[in-house]
């Protein structure tokens, strides 16, 4: 028994706090063996489970993110389409309104034109009748004048 540092023991013949012996290498071997056993029984299986779960969580998270992105894309698509449809409807309405307006204008113009024509015709008619009447009146008055003259002459 070699006591390398026999500081704390004087009364006991052997032993002591700093009593190095074969306990040291055997304890070291024991710990190395324990390392291998724990690696097989603890670190590898638990590590596998934990890393599998971490992988699962990561892929699920990625999956969910992708789906979220897809949903957002679809939503934007939908919004764009809605916008488009709205614009189309607006265009249709405007076109219809324009058409109505032009039709209205055309009809109005036509009606005005026909009315004008009628008035024009009536005026021409009136004019013709008046001139005819004028002529007849002139003729009549001339005949009457002639008659008067003849009578007077005859008297």
């Amino acid at each position: 028994m070699i006591n390398w540092l026999s500081l704390a023991e004087a009364p006991v013949p052997e032993g002591g706090l700093f009593d190095f012996d074969a306990t040291l290498p055997l304890m070291a071997i024991q710990v190395v063996i324990l390392t291998f056993i724990l690696n097989k029984l603890f670190f590898q299986p638990v590590g596998k489970v934990v890393e599998e779960r971490e992988g699962f969580v990561t892929t699920s998270h990625k999956d969910a993110k992708e789906r979220m992105a897809q949903v957002q894309r679809l939503e934007e698509d939908l919004k764009a389409r809605l916008q488009e449809a709205r614009q189309e409807a607006q265009a249709v309405i405007t076109a219809a309104e324009d058409e109505v307006a032009t039709l209205h204008k055309a009809a109005l113009a036509e009606a005005k034109a026909s009315a004008m024509k009628l008035r024009e015709e009536a005026r021409a008619d009136i004019e013709a009748q008046r001139s005819a009447a004028d002529a007849a009146l002139t003729d009549e008055s001339r005949r009457l004048a002639d008659l008067i003259i003849q009578r007077l002459v005859a008297v």
Binding site: T23, P25, V31, L34, L38, F42, V46
Partner: protein, 257 residues
């Protein structure tokens, strides 16, 4: 020297009680060992006995906890996964992303073994078992165990550095300047020395304090010291494992990584 002054006092006190109920005053058994003889070799039997019991407890927890593991952890699996995660973070922080996987089982075994030894030494009522000589206690309260662990750490970091960097490992001794060479060489000796003596001193001193207090005032008074002992025990396990990981990390560290 303090011990020698304490010993007679401790032995004298319960005797002066003169209570015949106490069948045998146990006294403080410092530096007494329960020797086993293996051929020419002497072994500290009490260290092996208690370490086998504690390793058995550790392995039982591990085996029971890993029997039915699922994606959704429950019961012991939770505890084991927590420990695993804790050890992984510890070794990853100290060793680095590149090499921590190789050394995680070693660091984890050091942590778990020391933690179980420390807490087992404090929590298991070893006194119920009488040995012919010496007494059962924390295996880490014996200098042989702590030196064995510290030397394993030394071997581990040398092996880690040499296997990862080859002879370039010795560049570490002259970095950043060759002036560091003697200090780095001295460090190779002080590292295992400080590792082993820190652990041994803390555990042994804690056991000693508690047993002295128990001898002097058996009821309630030693309790705060026992709680403090549990605290330091856990801290010592953490310190040992962290330093071991740090030394290995230092050895495998690449300057340009």
């Amino acid at each position: 020297m303090l011990l020698q002054t304490l010993l007679p006092l401790a032995e004298a006190l319960p005797a002066s009680d003169a209570e015949p109920m106490v069948e045998e005053t146990h006294g403080l058994e410092i530096g007494q060992h329960f020797y086993w003889h293996l051929g020419q070799l002497d072994l500290h039997g009490q260290i092996f006995l208690s370490s086998w019991i504690l390793i058995g407890a550790l392995l039982t927890i591990v085996v029971v906890g890993t029997r039915r593991m699922g994606r959704k952890p429950g019961g012991l699996q939770n505890l084991l996964e927590f420990l695993w995660d804790y050890i992984r973070n510890l070794s990853r922080d100290q060793i680095g992303e590149a090499a921590y996987r190789d050394w995680m089982p070693f660091i984890g075994t050091l942590f778990l073994f020391i933690f179980f030894c420390n807490w087992g030494g404090a929590l298991v009522p070893w006194r119920l078992v009488r040995l012919p000589s010496g007494e059962l206690g924390a295996p880490t309260g014996d200098i042989n165990t702590t030196v064995a662990l510290a030397l394993l750490v030394s071997l581990a970091y040398f092996y880690a550095g040499l296997s990862r960097k080859g002879l370039r490992y010795f560049e570490y001794y002259v970095e950043p300047t060759p002036i560091m060479l003697p200090f780095k060489i001295v460090e190779d000796f002080t590292k295992p020395l400080s590792l082993s003596f820190r652990l041994f001193g803390n555990i042994m001193a804690d056991e000693l304090t508690v047993s002295v207090l128990v001898l002097l005032l058996p009821l309630f008074v030693p309790l705060p010291m026992m709680f403090l002992g549990l605290f330091t025990s856990a801290i010592q396990a953490l310190i040992f494992a962290t330093l071991a990981a740090y030394y290995i990390g230092e050895a495998v560290h690449e300057e340009h990584a």
